[in-house]
């Protein structure tokens, strides 16, 4: 009896070992295609932004043969491009000089279709790698695609388990694919380079760093307007500056760098940055303050069916630099107080102008006043919420800034 028990235990162990040594999901690391960046363009492309081909590259006709796929239904509407690192070339020297197909460190594959999931699967017919999206850093959308509306295209990115909510969603004025084509000077891959730029949000307030897929999905589901980061590029450089304004899930226009700075100040998404003002009296000097701490409080004021908002912005910063001004004897208390007043005025003017611009130009509630009303004034929202789109452009907003200079340097 004991003998047979031992035998069955051994059998069970062997079966277990057989089952557990490898599983259906086993995948060797070198057979995975780690998608680092993804760009979506409209198709057919705008003729003005057509891709240029180098001497060793295939002709546009040959390229298009590869990129097109047969569709079950409808016409192709989008071109999706992915960036894959070529791990075999990972040790090669980096930089814009390395551009030949053999020496390239990444591979950009474009596929045309009308469903991103089927485009993704069609790409499998062009690479021996199994595409893997867990390490996706950036999703770049062309302006044309963004203007058609995000809710139409983001479903795969919400549904697919490999997609992460932290993927950065960026909008590009021209062809989105061109951003992936950038050959960075320091980093190996343009997607990683681009994603890394947003780590500087504590030093530069003119970029939208709250640009994650998760934030976009929440805003779309809740029906809030929002701003996403704008990105432009040259052959070897990207710049993430300014923003794309979204109203009702569609891109409504571009916000300037300064407007993004104001939006960050109002929405409590200001991580850090620099504000410069002219000296208060007489001299043609200029003083830069690095903002180290910022807090905005938005208070809705409801009076019957009328609503207005008061925004109180408290800012702390350090006296960082002066230009055309020799202040070593002048950093007196009255001078700093007058400087603080200048900063307050600058912030108030900047925010007021931005709010007016968003109200008039785009009718976009990127400050999410609607969210504040829903949470803080539910009775008002219940009565007037359905008319918010027509109420918002005329809503009165007053901005009050309170600035304190803390440190003055050595």
């Amino acid at each position: 009896m004991r003998h047979s028990l031992k035998r069955s235990s051994l059998l069970l162990f062997l079966i277990g070992a057989l089952l557990l040594t490898g599983c259906w999901d086993q995948k060797d690391i070198d057979t995975r295609g780690y998608v680092l960046g993804l760009a979506i363009d409209s198709y057919p492309p705008d003729p003005q932004s057509s891709e240029s081909t180098g001497p060793n590259q295939a002709s546009p006709q040959e390229e298009e043969k590869l990129e097109k796929m047969q569709l079950h239904t409808g016409e192709p509407g989008y071109a999706m491009t992915i960036q894959l690192p070529i791990l075999a070339n990972a040790d090669m020297p980096e930089g814009p000089g390395i551009q030949s197909a053999e020496g390239s460190q990444s591979w950009e594959i474009t596929q045309i279709g009308n469903s991103f999931f089927s485009i993704n699967r069609e790409m499998a017919s062009r690479t021996g790698l199994s595409l893997y999206y867990e390490h996706l850093q950036v999703l770049i959308l062309s302006e044309e695609v963004a203007r058609k509306g995000l809710i139409n295209i983001l479903d795969m990115f919400m549904r697919e388990p490999e997609m992460r909510r932290g993927i950065k969603v960026l909008i590009c004025p021209g062809e989105a694919k061109s951003i992936l084509d950038v050959v960075p000077r320091i980093d190996k891959y343009s997607s990683v380079y681009l994603s890394g730029i947003f780590d500087n949000s504590s030093r530069n307030s003119r970029m939208v760093y709250h640009t994650n897929m998760g934030d976009v999905i929440c805003a779309l589901h809740d029906g809030h307007d929002f701003v996403l980061a704008k990105v432009i590029s040259t052959k070897d450089e990207n710049k993430a500056s300014g923003g794309a304004v979204f109203h009702n899930g569609r891109m409504a226009g571009w916000a300037t760098e300064m407007e993004v700075e104001a939006i960050n100040l109002i929405r409590n998404t200001y991580e850090g940055g620099v504000i410069t003002v002219d000296t208060p009296k007489g001299e043609e000097g200029r003083v830069a303050m690095e903002i180290t701490n910022e807090k905005a409080e938005i208070t809705p004021i409801v009076n019957g069916d009328q609503v207005s908002f008061r925004i109180d912005i408290k800012v702390e910063g350090d006296y960082s630099e002066d230009i055309n001004l020799h202040t070593h004897e002048k950093l007196s208390e009255p001078f700093l107080k007058s400087l603080e007043a200048e900063y307050e005025k600058e912030i108030q003017d900047l925010c007021t102008e931005t709010i007016e611009s968003m109200q008039e130009k785009f009718k976009a509630d990127v400050f999410q006043f609607d969210r504040i009303l829903q949470a803080g004034e539910p009775a008002y929202w219940e009565r007037m919420g359905s008319d918010w789109n027509s109420i918002y452009p005329d809503v009165g907003v007053t901005v009050h800034a309170d600035v304190h200079i803390i440190l003055t340097g050595i």
Binding site: G16, C23, W24, H135, P161, R165, D222, I372, A375, P378
Partner: protein, 365 residues
């Protein structure tokens, strides 16, 4: 007289593990579906209800300290009626366990093992849980002692890591024209904690001391706290509308954790691995309960328990894989879960009342 005795602190781990289970993945969706942004209030009230009714269940076990639930039923209601009352317990446990295995397999497939069929996932966890049950209650208690702290720490990690993404405004307005839904949500909240009934199966194996009840309450309180905190954080991170679109909000919450640097981009894999342990202990406890129910129903001797365990395992595989559609499986699981209210609110208090009367008569006689 039972030979093996569980220590009073093990009552806490067993009770907590009996409550934590597959529901940890979907508790927020169930609650927000009923009470919106006030779901956490319903969960607090549901948790308080569970504390009260859990105490009733403990009292029943305390009345007959050397018997487990199926033995108590046969003792109070006699061999025939006792078995009749035992039947719904068996049906509930088997269906709940089978569908838990199914939800577990499909969630694991979705997030970790996309190419692995569900059958081996279900079979492997049943093999592990079945082996633990074969080894007896003391082995189960020992496993819980190791796994429970790891699980609690993991859940706390999932709660704390997304703190930088929370928006307090997602909780507002609080109780604005939503009181009715909050009250409705109490039952939904309560049903998340009906696993407290596990005490009726394990009390007879426990050392009886004055502190045992306190350990039991602690075992009830820990999952209540964790579920409330999980629901609060999930609402604050995603908002009530977005939660409605998420199939497994807890896994999405774990996925939303961003650790600076690129060396740990899939931190949620650790959560998934430890979540497998949570499901394993939950399955082991339910399998133990089902085994005990079947042994008493069929009047079988303990030495034949292994046949019962593996027989139940085969039945569970069939139940787990019977429904093909994932959405239907989740919907069926919710219906089964709803029926747990009948046990907690009606059957257990009824058995306790009958047990009390019977005990008084026995004492007088």
């Amino acid at each position: 007289m039972k030979e093996e005795r569980l220590m009073p602190p093990q009552v806490m781990t067993l009770t907590a593990c009996g409550i934590l289970g597959i529901d940890i993945l979907i508790v927020q969706r169930d609650m927000v579906g009923v009470a919106g942004q006030d779901a956490w209030i319903s969960l607090i009230l549901g948790g308080m209800t569970a504390m009260i009714l859990g105490s009733v269940c403990y009292y029943l076990a305390h009345l007959y300290p050397e018997m487990d639930l199926p033995q108590i039923l046969l003792h109070i209601f006699g061999d025939f009626f006792g078995r009749i009352i035992l039947l719904p317990f068996i049906v509930y446990d088997v269906l709940y366990l089978g569908m838990s295995l199914r939800i577990f397999a499909q969630a694991l497939k979705m997030f970790l093992l996309s190419a692995t069929p569900m059958l081996p996932i279900v079979v492997l966890i049943l093999l592990a849980a079945g082996y633990a049950v074969c080894k007896g209650v003391f082995a189960i208690g020992g496993i819980m002692d190791i796994i429970f702290p790891l699980c609690a720490v993991t859940i706390l990690g999932i709660l704390l890591m997304p703190m930088n993404q929370i928006h307090l405004s997602n909780l507002k307005p609080i109780l604005y024209k939503n009181t009715g839904n909050v009250v409705k949500g109490i039952l939904t909240g309560y049903q998340q904690f009906t696993g407290y009934g596990t005490i009726a199966y394990f009390y007879c194996y426990t050392q009886k001391t004055k502190g045992t009840f306190k350990w039991y309450l602690a075992g009830l309180g820990i999952p209540i706290f964790l579920y409330i905190a999980l629901t609060l954080i999930t609402i604050m991170v995603f908002g009530p509308t977005d939660i409605g679109y998420l199939t497994y909000p807890t896994l999405t919450l774990a996925k939303s954790i961003e650790i600076p640097g690129t060396f740990l981009e899939r931190a949620e894999s650790f959560a998934a691995i430890l979540w497998i342990n949570i499901v394993f202990v939950s399955v082991a406890l339910l399998l133990f309960r089902t085994k005990r129910n079947f042994l008493e129903l069929l009047h079988m001797k303990t030495k034949h328990q292994n046949y019962v365990i593996w027989g139940i395992a085969l039945l569970l595989i069939g139940i787990a894989l019977f429904i093909r559609s994932g959405t239907e499986a989740i919907s069926f699981f919710s219906k089964i879960k709803k029926s747990s209210r009948i046990f907690g609110l009606l059957i257990f208090p009824f058995i306790t009342a009958m047990g009390y009367i019977k005990k008084r008569r026995e004492t007088r006689a």
